[in-house]
């Protein structure tokens, strides 16, 4: 398998190492510099110490439990806000009249930054999962609405005519024609929303909610443990990168080039 890839794209793989020079070089330089001139700091630590702290936090389970807390809040927010956004988006996509009437309200509410709702959620729910799920849910609602609206709009009009000709009910048309045809783009929407959900979940935890990875970051900083703080930071980055890369691989495998159009940025 690996040999086949090597043979297939020699120029590409021969140069692939260049991608790693900058990040690994920077880490190596930091390690060397800090060993040569050790500094007492609350903000920097030896890269090797950071790796050690990461492994230890993974081994004693503290990082895993924080990760699950963040993931659970993300998932809850996606289920609540994403599903609602999907429903409204599909509705808008099916009826131009509904979309035109709802457009102004959406445009007025959409620019509201989700983090501004943290105090509102704090007041209503207190600390905990419900606060975070509410904020994450709001943050993915509008992107999901816009993207699924666009996805349904992109369904070829002829397919809809077929549905009408076969006298399918509205529900059957949505289930049998619209959703399958829009699925690749809806998956892209899901991938983008998962990215947003992670960022907002961590942000909520840093700004107020005492749980999850964001809080782990903040408490490591406050207990003056820079190696742990940097380890959690690296873990958050790894998680975001891994989620995106995994979903991107699934997207390519399931839909190939079908999903490539439209939702680039």
């Amino acid at each position: 398998m690996a040999a086949a890839i090597l043979a297939a794209s020699p120029a590409h793989t021969r140069r692939a190492w260049r991608a790693w020079v900058l990040p690994l070089g920077a880490l190596g330089a930091a390690e060397a510099l800090l060993r040569w001139r050790p500094v007492q700091s609350d903000a920097v630590a030896l890269p090797s110490a950071v790796v050690q702290a990461l492994l230890q936090a993974l081994a004693d389970g503290s990082l895993w439990s924080a990760t699950w807390q963040t993931l659970a809040a993300m998932l809850g927010g996606l289920l609540a806000g994403g599903a609602l956004g999907l429903l409204v988006g599909v509705w808008f996509g099916l009826s131009r009249r509904v979309a035109a009437r709802g457009a102004l309200l959406v445009e007025l509410l959409r620019p509201l930054p989700a983090v501004a709702l943290i105090p509102v959620a704090m007041l209503v729910f207190g600390f905990g999962y419900r606060l975070e799920i509410f904020v994450v849910g709001f943050s993915v609602f509008f992107p999901m609405l816009m993207l699924s609206h666009a996805a349904v709009q992109a369904v070829p009009a002829r397919l809809l005519e077929v549905g009408r000709m076969l006298r399918l009910t509205m529900a059957a048309r949505v289930r049998k024609i619209v959703l399958p045809a829009a699925l690749p783009r809806l998956f892209v929407a899901l991938r983008l929303c998962i990215g947003i959900a992670l960022v907002v979940a961590v942000t909520t935890e840093i700004a107020s909610n005492p749980q999850g990875l964001g809080y782990a970051l903040l408490s490591a900083q406050q207990s003056l443990a820079p190696e742990l703080m940097l380890a959690v930071l690296a873990w958050v980055g790894l998680l975001g990168w891994g989620l995106n890369a995994g979903l991107l691989a699934l997207q390519r495998r399931w839909f190939g080039g079908l999903a490539a159009t439209g939702a680039g940025r």
């Binding site: 035109a100 105090p119 704090m122």
Partner: protein, 252 residues
Amino acid sequence: MKPRFGEALAAVGVVLAFVLLWGAVAHFEWVSAVFLPGPLATAEALRDGLRQGELLPLLLQTVERMVYGWLLASIAGVLLGALIGTSAALRAWVQPTLELVRPLPASALMPLAIALMGLSQSMVLCVIAFGAVWPVLLATVHGFAAVEPRLFEVGRVLRLSRAAFIWKVGLPNALPDVLGGMRLSLTVALILAIVGEMLASQSGLGTAIVQAARSFRSADLFAGVALLGGVGLASNALLALLEGRLLRWQRP
């Protein structure tokens, strides 16, 4: 496609219905007034806050922070993006690292920034700039990398220097991408300004709404949230307007 009058009226009607529903929920106390003030109470808090002059300075501080951070990010993003985007060699070395760092939530860097710089004004500004730089930077790189290859040849034939090429050929061609990135950056900058204020207790609307929530002044809280929504709406609309003007020459 010109918007018909009736359609526009219907859209306004939907907004009014939403406000009425909000008013009904608050008036009949389906949700306790401690949590949800009515639209009138919110409007009153907004009016009083603006008239008595407490809200306006807070608003300006937040907007100032957002704009400065965004300008820093835009300048750095366009300059670096132009450099990286015009050089295929540099792209091969640097772009993978950029893609690696990009998904990192900028707010996650706030603890690190606090450890480095303390709970200060400049810490918040640095985090805003760092977080908001990515959309501009990557869009600019993409915009410059997608410049028609024949234009590069034209530049070489005319013996344009790198800077002249970037200014005269590259930037106009990359402008749609750059402006799109800047619009995204502005959204990020507003979010980070609010979070930064909350965390570092810098005075501004972000801190004000947290304090309002802590002391159960829900009308003030909603007034602040509405104002932040207004900032988002206005800044987005302004940039869209600017985009339309700057890109007018590109449309046939």
